[in-house]
Point group: C2
Chain length 382, copies 2
């Protein structure tokens, strides 16, 4: 039943009524002055969200389209790159890079563990001929609920001098601090159905001046994802191809709400929800999947022992109409994930913990007495 | 003022309230059973619209993304192709083909004139070594209001035997008859903000078995636009990347409305509106830009003599809040275009003619007495 569905997945995330109403407005011409105003306004809002003076471009497409755009606009066939992998999304960027004939060196960590910045440091320092053209990092690895130390990795990339750094911030932007300029990130990709509190369909690529310099050298073929066309159209507050006009209306409305709340408060809220989810799960004896201290502000992955995570997840959906995320690939059945990203309030998090606890109890799978999870989450939310 | 805006442009086209309400629903998980039902249903509806048993794939992106996908999934670097150009969109496919290193032979006609099927016949017959791998045709050339004879060109391509035919049906599908299977079209690209009566953001690629056979040989790099990933996910009524969930809701609603109206009635309506627009303009002494007998069912391009088309267009917008389209590229100021595509009724067309006539009269630019345009349009609508 959609009418009372509670989305606790890492995307699509819940959407405020104000944003849905903006989405459902009658469309206008995408070459009109009125629409140019929307493009101008949202571009400024996006820069605010990215804490940057760089270009932030809007693409009609998914987060993958934005990441692919970041990669194929800055690199050339045969270029050597480093790519961090500790989950499904890190692995996806390797696939994209391979599809375009890049020479990929993988920096791996086990699923659930964070990438080790020292691994990047070592490889980058050893690259005396400066052959590495780009370093790709997934900031918040949605498949495992791990947040990687993007800031530390970026510092090592800065010292290298030649490599740019491309970051997948799809589930970190709008959930925790990602100061693009301060950290020196060259390309940031993100998607609308995440921290943006919007339905899916728009994605975003922020490009530093170093990234644009790399773009001038890039020879990989592209057309719809050719960012130079977006940049040129952007100077006229326009788009190279017909954009999803109604999603732009929603974008303006959602960024309005975010600006009213303020970045600091948004980040504190996500941090509070992360802590509540973690403490709630630990209190009922369910181990976290992500390494201690590296839980994502967007999503908490839980690896219950001796319990089929899919059975629990389906029961919570059926009884309480709360949609949790399952485990991906080899983690299916072993992990479930609680999304606390975007338009989520304390009630949503408290309710999810209570529903999980209640469901385990009714399935006869709860160790200890009911209420410990609620108590721990409640304390964390205070 | 958006609240009373009448969109008479070739996209975005007007959207029914039912569709806007579907668009503004709360999103659901894109990996849920509920969403799989939406994908299954819309896929069946799309096959109905294309009059085909072939795969019809849905991409989150613009019509250009769909056309690019059709090209890069069926061809390889250096492949020889024919591309018809008689307007801005034909020229765009040449740009896409060039971006991917294809060997493009252009079949040109002047803007406003239709492509000559005999030109294709001649070149295809002379290609005894069967080097031409694809023939690209824009069915309804939106920039000039010309409908090309896709059926005749397709027959010549069938006789060639090796070349596939890729058609841009962005402003013909849902406006006039495009029987994919009957005409033997291998790839059809279209976009949601056109005959579909939806906001922009989704696009569609239909692929014949011959197109899939070509796909297996294709070596052009791609990831987000890799149609094989969409086909594989489609077997599970799913998507390879997060789709624009809310636009899918709108798609289901709009195709529902179209199925209720029926293809024959939809095509008759567009034909009636085309005739009314043409007769109305001729009656007030404004020449049509498209060659006689080749007017598009989606859009009527008008080339007023001794009148700045932009002045007229802006005055109609300001006085009556009707948005007409301007001329593109070198036609700016020389041409205006009346869109009659998608969710347009007889009132909309009659009103547009009346507003143009009234505006010309008030500008002192009307030859003859006011009412002749209305009379002619009225007769055509009867």
């Amino acid at each position: 039943m959609q009418d009372k569905l509670s989305l606790m997945i890492p995307g699509p995330t819940p959407v405020p009524e104000t944003v849905l109403r903006a989405l459902g407005r009658h469309p206008i011409g995408h070459r009109s002055g009125e629409f140019q105003s929307v493009v101008k306004r949202t571009t400024e809002q996006l820069k605010w969200l990215h804490q940057t003076t760089n270009d932030v471009l809007t693409i009609t497409g998914s987060g993958t389209a934005a990441m692919e755009a970041g990669i194929i606009n800055t690199l050339s066939r045969g270029d050597k790159i480093l790519c961090g992998t500790n989950g499904k999304f890190g692995e996806r960027w390797v696939k994209v890079a391979n599809a375009y004939g890049l020479d990929v060196q993988i920096v791996n960590a086990e699923w659930g563990q964070p990438l080790n910045p020292e691994d990047f440091k070592e490889i980058l320092e050893a690259d005396e001929n400066k052959e590495i053209k780009a370093t790709i990092v997934t900031h918040s690895e949605t498949s495992t609920g791990v947040i990687n130390d993007l800031k530390a990795i970026s510092q090592h990339v800065q010292k290298h001098g030649e490599s740019i750094i491309i970051a997948d911030c799809v589930t970190s932007l709008g959930a925790c601090n990602v100061p693009m300029d301060e950290w020196g990130i060259d390309v940031i990709a993100s998607g609308s159905q995440k921290g943006y509190m919007m339905p899916p369909g728009l994605s975003f690529v922020a490009m530093s001046e170093r990234a644009w310099a790399a773009q001038k050298q890039s020879n990989l073929p592209k057309f719809y994802l050719d960012l130079n066309q977006y940049r040129n159209a952007g100077t006229k507050n326009s788009n190279p191809f017909t954009p999803a006009v109604n999603l732009y209306f929603a974008l303006e409305a959602s960024l309005d709400i975010m600006q009213t709340e303020g970045l600091k408060t948004i980040f504190e809220r996500h941090n509070r929800h992360k802590t509540a989810a973690q403490e709630g799960m630990k209190a009922i004896g369910l181990p976290l999947f992500s390494a201690k201290g590296y839980g994502s502000p967007a999503i908490t992955a839980v690896a219950p022992e001796h319990i089929d995570a899919e059975v629990l997840r389906k029961e919570v959906k059926q009884r309480f109409d709360i949609l949790l995320a399952g485990g991906q690939d080899h983690l299916k059945g072993k992990v479930f994930r609680i999304g606390h990203l975007g338009f989520v309030n304390d009630r949503d998090v408290l309710t999810a913990i209570a529903a999980i606890e209640s469901t385990l109890s009714s399935l006869g799978l709860l160790n200890g007495k009911i209420g410990e999870g609620l108590k721990a989450a409640s304390a964390a939310l205070k």
